[in-house]
């Protein structure tokens, strides 16, 4: 997914070799998407055995850094991808929803494993039957738990999706506004709770601009 393209294939990038000036022309949207897709910062939301596989994916053998994802963000304010690895009990549902709302746009969600995607074998009183009932999901990774290869395949699918998006459209940087009468609505004051300034910016505690 780099900028260089084999000769003879059409590309969004035009290199001008004769000038030897070292500049390229491209569409801004392509460039923005390319940068986004290759530096997705994951927010790991690990609740069960899928999180162990996720750790293996991030470790040296499978090396998530190859996809620009080695920077785990444990603050939702600086994350791009929410990777929900494991079953989510009903008690955790409002927490997951709030973490999703605390992430700034643009944001994506990977549902890792059978439990996060469907509830898995835990068809009982305590477990949410698929996190897509709480947050919008972009990629579902099947498996119980998925092998690291499967998660990486899901990540590459997400990268393809990011590359195909209209990166300059309004919906990519405007916060999602939830209908206040909806059950999913969390007041901004509560979204901002417990999300202290982190890193080099003090403006990340805000729920919306």
């Amino acid at each position: 997914m780099g900028l260089s393209v084999p000769p003879g294939r059409s590309s969004s990038v035009t290199v001008d070799p004769p000038s030897q000036e070292g500049w390229v022309t491209t569409r801004l949207e392509f460039l923005v998407n390319w940068a986004r897709a290759n530096s997705l910062w994951p927010m790991p939301f690990g609740t069960a055995c899928c999180a162990i596989e996720f750790m293996a994916t991030a470790a040296s053998r499978f090396d998530l850094a190859r996809f620009g994802m080695e920077r785990m963000s444990f603050s939702p304010r600086q994350a791009d991808v929410l990777i929900c690895a494991g079953r989510v009990p009903f008690k955790l549902a409002p927490v997951l929803r709030r973490i999703y709302q605390q992430m700034p746009q643009p944001k994506w969600v990977i549902s890792m494993g059978a439990c996060a995607s469907t509830g898995g074998m835990f068809d009982n009183y305590a477990v949410v039957q698929g996190i897509d009932t709480i947050v919008p999901v972009d990629v579902y990774v099947p498996g119980c738990p998925p092998r690291p290869e499967a998660l990486m395949h899901g990540i590459m699918m997400l990268q393809k999706k990011v590359m195909a998006e209209r990166s300059l459209g309004r919906q990519q940087y405007e916060e999602i506004v939830v209908d206040p009468t909806s059950k999913l609505y969390i007041p901004p004051s509560r979204i901002d709770e417990l999300s202290e300034p982190f890193g080099n910016s003090v403006h990340q505690t805000r729920s919306a601009p």
């Binding site: 009903f90 008690k91 549902a93 409002p94 009183y125 305590a126 059950k183 509560r190």
Partner: protein, 231 residues
Amino acid sequence: MSVVLPGAALGPAAPAPATPRAIAHRGGPANPSAATLAARFPADVVRHEVIWGDTIVWIRAGAARDIVRWLRDDAGERYDYLVDITAVEHRDALRPLEMVWQLRSLPYRRFLRLKAELDPAGALEVPSLVPCYGSADWLEREVFDMFGIRFEGHPDLRRILMWEGYAEGHPLRKDFPLRGRLSRAEQLSRALAANPEARYSMEELTVADAFHELPEEMKRRLAAERRGGGE
């Protein structure tokens, strides 16, 4: 606070601990505490039996705290470690609920299991062990949450696994349907409406200002700092 070495009360002549072999299903040597307990509390100890080498003493539920306190303090017993508190409901609807207390005497290297029968149609109330063992606090909260057994004298009896305000009952009871009583959509919308901070204690709430969302009764209890236990 003093360090208790395992087997300290047995003396230097005691045999080294060994893994028991060829344990009979029923019968075999009983824990000597069972006999002393029956002699000390003749009205409250019902019977005892030995199953797979473990001694089980059946007691009257109302006497649990007195018996456990005596077992903890008596110089010949010294059950200084509360291993677990749990309960059993059998599939046979005619059998009563059972309360289970698992005790360990570190100085004497003994395990003792106390059981008490509770009438499912009755009040389901047993004395709390929090005045004897501080660790009974969360164990009893779990039994209350899962079975609905109330612990008289518990300083802070509220749900621990399910959230505060969970309305579907006590999940480990046999009459509780596996998927709960409400529809999935209703369960999810109620769960999403819950405030995750609203079930924490006063100390924990110093970081999350959700005190005003607690139930009134809990607010009064926390404001009076009637929380925690032990002597």
